[in-house]
Amino acid sequence: MTTATKRLTTSAMIASFADPGQRTASAPFGHALAALAERDDRIVGLTADLGKYTDMHVFAQAHPERFFQMGMAEQLLFGAAAGMAEVGLVPFASTYSVFAARRAYDFLCLDIAEPKLNVNIVGGLPGLTTGYGPSHQATEDVAIFRGMPNLTIVDPCDSVDIEQAVPQLAEAEGPTYLRLLRGKVPTVLDEYDYTFRLGKAAVLRGGTDVVFVSSGLMTMRALQAAEELAKHKVDVAVVHTPTIKPFDAETVLAEVDSDRLVVTLENHTVVGGLFETVASAVVSRGLGKRVVPIALPDEFLDAGALPTLHERYGLATDTVVAKVLAELDR
């Protein structure tokens, strides 16, 4: 195979979902945590052989004496984080989302969430942010974690969200789960009149025809799709809900309760994530309102190149636009 034809490949774990030429910030989580630790000496960082892959290495370099490499042992990682919190420290413990949610769940539940400890779970590769295949695609992490009492779940859109969230996660008393975006992370929300407030949703833009309710990187796609749809004379509002639990039903339902088309957008399976969170809020309030989900299918996903997979499973901007136009019969 001397003539290497270039085809789209998985390019391992570290695929970026930033668009070509997009503004990005490098390792925003690692830098925010290192900065926070300057002012708060309770902060410690732990990882399970994934420091380099969760931007925890930035913290490790800045505060080597407060960084703990636990080896590839996720149960130990979170059990030990619980122990550290029990003695008054504020741990941030990182691994990939799949291994936090699937491998260590029992330890998170009983050792951390039940005692309401201030342990901050940092999960890399949330949802479909790697083409590596089902072992690394945490398509159901929110579904798993929403069932855990006391846990706050944050699904940031970009580097702005992450930088602003880190100190608030440390400040919040109980446990939190951050759906980490790592490496070169897009910078999007600084163009809006927006600051991250834990537990709060925010209306990023108004619109008269459609309401997008989105979280995580799908807020970036929602904003892009809204601009595209404007060219089709469709006016779209975007409500960003970076905190999935507890959910800011007030802000979201105020937007949903209208005669506009309501669409949820999430980087997660359609089971148990943002769509069902919004749907249950709508039903509980007694609103007879249809909600259209844009989410991953209830399947183990293919491996391959990330852009191909976002296209295939409907998370790409153009597939969002097409779906909305079809819903509106345009």
Partner: protein
């Protein structure tokens, strides 16, 4: 001239290393260093030890080979291509859209893959169940499980190790790639696992440790394990110290990394070095 077992294995390992470089070039990076390191070990397994039918990966009487270290699929695909289970022409789809050969193999669609890979520390637990199940059904197939030194960090590996000894799974053989490397760096800096032999012995296993790039030593160790293999007995483990990038001096001497960077113009050089080394050894 008769070919010895060692020569047959050495030639298989050589061809597998070429397959590994070819697959690595498709991705431009990946687990090439690790795969070159274990080519000898997998060549011994597939060309000398394992009972299987290349054209029928589901043959019920086959020995089972479980790749616990899912990201080593590139090495297993090379062995499966050498064996004839995967067409050599398919290797160039490694890790690409729509391929049956993703970076970690999937039990549901990758030929020759017994378990779905990618999450480490699973293989030995499944191997214990297979060995128990096959014994219950009165069959005498062997079960081989491949794992990495990083997987010795996982509690599940040791749960399985103790379970295998407790249930006297004498037809179970584990091989561990002791390449002294993990994702965040050298194994000894991530989580010390030495003395590894004593740990396996204490868990109740017949334990051998060999140079994993010495084919004669590997054959002797696998033979010793085979000799002891019986339905009720001590499970066997072979700890193999391997050299990352083995067979390609350019990569053997490069800084060790979980994802070894290889530039576009270096692949042909790698292949040339591999070929020269093999011919020089004849």
């Amino acid at each position: 001239m008769t070919t010895t077992r060692a020569e047959k294995v050495r030639d298989a390992a050589y061809r597998m290393r070429h397959h590994i470089l070819d697959m690595g070039e498709v991705q431009g990076q990946g687990y090439v260093g690790q795969a070159l390191g274990v080519a000898d070990l997998l060549a011994v397994t597939y060309a000398d030890q394992l009972r299987f039918r290349a054209d029928d990966p589901h043959w019920p009487d086959r020995d089972r080979f479980l790749l616990s270290t899912g990201h080593y699929a590139i090495a297993l695909y090379a062995a499966l291509a050498e064996a004839g289970t995967v067409p050599v022409s398919e290797l160039e789809t490694y890790g690409s859209d729509g391929s049956r050969l993703p970076m970690s193999g999937m039990a549901s669609y990758t030929p020759g893959m017994e378990i779905s890979g990618g999450s480490l520390g699973h293989g030995l637990t499944v191997a214990v169940g297979m060995a128990l199940g096959l014994r219950l059904k009165g069959r005498h197939q062997r079960v081989f499980n491949f794992l990495s030194d990083g997987e010795l960090d996982e509690g599940s590996t040791w749960e399985a190790a103790m379970g295998a000894a407790h249930h006297q799974l004498g037809l179970l053989t584990a091989m561990v790639d002791m390449n002294a490397l993990q994702a965040d760096g050298p194994t000894k800096g991530v989580l010390g696992i030495e003395p590894a032999e004593e740990k396996w012995e204490a868990a109740g296993w017949f334990t051998q440790r060999v140079d994993g790039n010495d084919i004669d030593a590997l054959l002797a160790a696998f033979d010793a394990a085979a000799e002891r293999a019986r339905p009720v007995g001590q499970p066997s483990v072979i700890l193999c110290d391997t050299r990352i990038g083995r067979g390609v001096p350019l990569l053997e001497t490069r800084e060790k990394a979980h994802f070894m960077r290889i530039d576009e113009d270096e692949w042909q050089l790698c292949r040339d070095q591999l070929t020269e080394g093999h011919e020089g050894a004849r």
